[in-house]
């Protein structure tokens, strides 16, 4: 890997100066608002105006300004004297964690905007230089004869195991568990005769049944997860709607259709089929 010139941060120093100006302005602004008020007021004053405030917020906000300032100072030192102030990084992490906590817990958005203005320009340069070295080292390690043959294999397995199902990551759970019951769906006419799906729909194979899971998940999510399952008549209606909306061009000779859930169980070493009518739905 070819090293480019070290990032010196001349432009960043200009940005830093501007950041100080903004900081001062924000300080003035915040003095009359929440964060500055917290910084300069005593706890009893704060609780008089904000009865719900508790010690934790008070301490966090008191710590916020000196922590940010210390991070900024160390960032400058870190730039100028790279051998010193290794503790810039834990301090930055601490400051960032505090900002995120204050923001998401108590909505102090001015805090995070301020932190961004103050630290991001400095952090960027450090991250660029640090990342180049790290990528180079990681690449050397990953490209060794043995590791090069397996590192993607291991990384993909770890990512698929840790991440929720999100394309292209999946746990490939096909038939990883056999239950005591399986089921599928049949669409029939009003007299109970099977309507072959592929004859009338544009599906491949069992796409209607793959749609079932999405419909159930959507229903549960739509009810804010307070329900554990979708009522059969609603599921039937949803799946029929999907079937009807994916018909092949041409006449569909049925005014209404019935949706059956056909399930299979093992009883006395024999497969037994059960049918349940989910509902009758208008096709047109």
């Amino acid at each position: 890997m070819i090293y480019r010139k070290e990032f010196t941060g001349k432009i960043l120093k200009v940005v830093l100066t501007l950041s100080i100006v903004v900081w001062l302005l924000l300080q003035a602004y915040n003095f009359f608002n929440t964060v500055g008020f917290f910084f300069v007021s005593s706890h009893s004053q704060i609780t008089a105006w904000y009865p719900n405030t508790h010690w934790l917020i008070f301490i966090a906000l008191i710590l916020y300004f000196p922590l940010t300032y210390a991070t900024w100072l160390l960032a400058i030192v870190h730039f100028r004297f790279p051998d010193k102030s290794w503790y810039y990084w834990p301090l930055l992490i601490l400051q960032s964690a505090l900002v995120i906590w204050l923001q998401y817990q108590y909505g102090f958005y001015a805090v995070s905007a301020f932190a961004l203005l103050f630290t991001l320009p400095l952090v960027t340069g450090r991250i660029i230089n640090f990342s180049r070295k790290t990528i180079h080292s990681a690449y050397h390690f990953a490209n060794g004869k043995f590791i090069g043959s397996i590192f993607l294999f291991i990384i993909y397995i770890i990512l698929c195991a840790l991440l929720p199902r999100t394309h292209p990551f999946a746990k490939y759970t096909m038939f990883n568990h056999f239950g005591k019951e399986t089921h599928m769906y049949e669409v029939r006419d009003i007299n109970g005769h099977l309507i072959p799906l592929r004859q009338y729909s544009v599906f491949f194979n069992d796409e209607l049944f793959a749609y079932e899971e999405a419909a159930i998940k959507n229903y549960i999510h739509g009810n804010n997860d307070t329900v554990s399952h979708m009522p059969d008549y609603l599921l039937g209606a949803e799946m029929c709607r999907y079937f009807i909306s994916n018909l092949k061009p041409g006449p569909f000779p049925f005014d209404s259709v019935k949706l059956y859930r056909v399930s299979f169980t093992l009883e006395n070493n024999k497969t037994v089929m059960h049918e349940k009518l989910l509902g009758t739905y208008q096709a047109k």
Partner: protein, 295 residues
Amino acid sequence: MKNYWVHIRQNSFWASYGNSTEWFFMKLSFIVPVVFYLLRCLAKFPAQPYPVGICNLIDCTLPGSGPIKFLTYAILATAAILYVWEKAMLFSTFTLFLLSLTLLSLEESNGYKGENGLVTLLLLVQFLAYLFHAIRKQDNLAHNRVQYSIQIIAAVYILSGISKMYYSGISWFMEDAPGFILEVQRVCNLEFAATGFAGFREKGNTISEFLTNNPVILHGILFFTVVIELGSFIMLFGKKYAFGYAFLFLGMHIGIYLVMDIFFPTIMIPMLIFAVNPVYLIWASINTVKNTAMN
């Protein structure tokens, strides 16, 4: 005149994935179905009712909407041609990866769990191979672009095996094995429901009865399935191992298809392409016969 089969029998052929002709046939046989798959997703899904993955961040229907779809067609065609032609590979592999990520996420956002992540990942790892080579010229690009693909394929199979062991343990092929019979009935009846052909229902009954009356065969099939999946890391040992192990997977997929009428094209086809490269073997055979006849 080159006798390709003599070359294939030599150790140098099995030492690495370096042959550019093999790579050409791998690319060609991979990208053609991928392009058709992506075109199908473009045409079939005008909406994303249940957005997942990247479709939560962007509108995945955008590439297929209105006049933009013609631009998408043009980009897809250009990237595919450049990919096969081995030109601007960083651009072509990355573009194909982005298109695959978007359009296959769109398919999943319509409720289809197609286990198609492998297609996108293969494009990504090939991009990585070319990227690493661009950064570091000493890299064995010819080897890495195929070996990275084999790594992902092996990972998919081993994940399937790990999933079975994690969720069911050894009961997957022991106490819970009769549940497999119910799955067979389910898929056979699915075919019946889709086609109306009663033969599928009869097939389900026949297979179920056979497996119920021969529990040793039932347990054996399931046991070897898990063993084959968990042993997929053997493919990483080298080209010869990947080639041989691919036939075990092929046998497994054929068995699944015969019993359950289920076919996983997005997993099996890339596995065959990158581990066996059948199109190259057919081409090599034809050329060998032709050269032999001419001599």
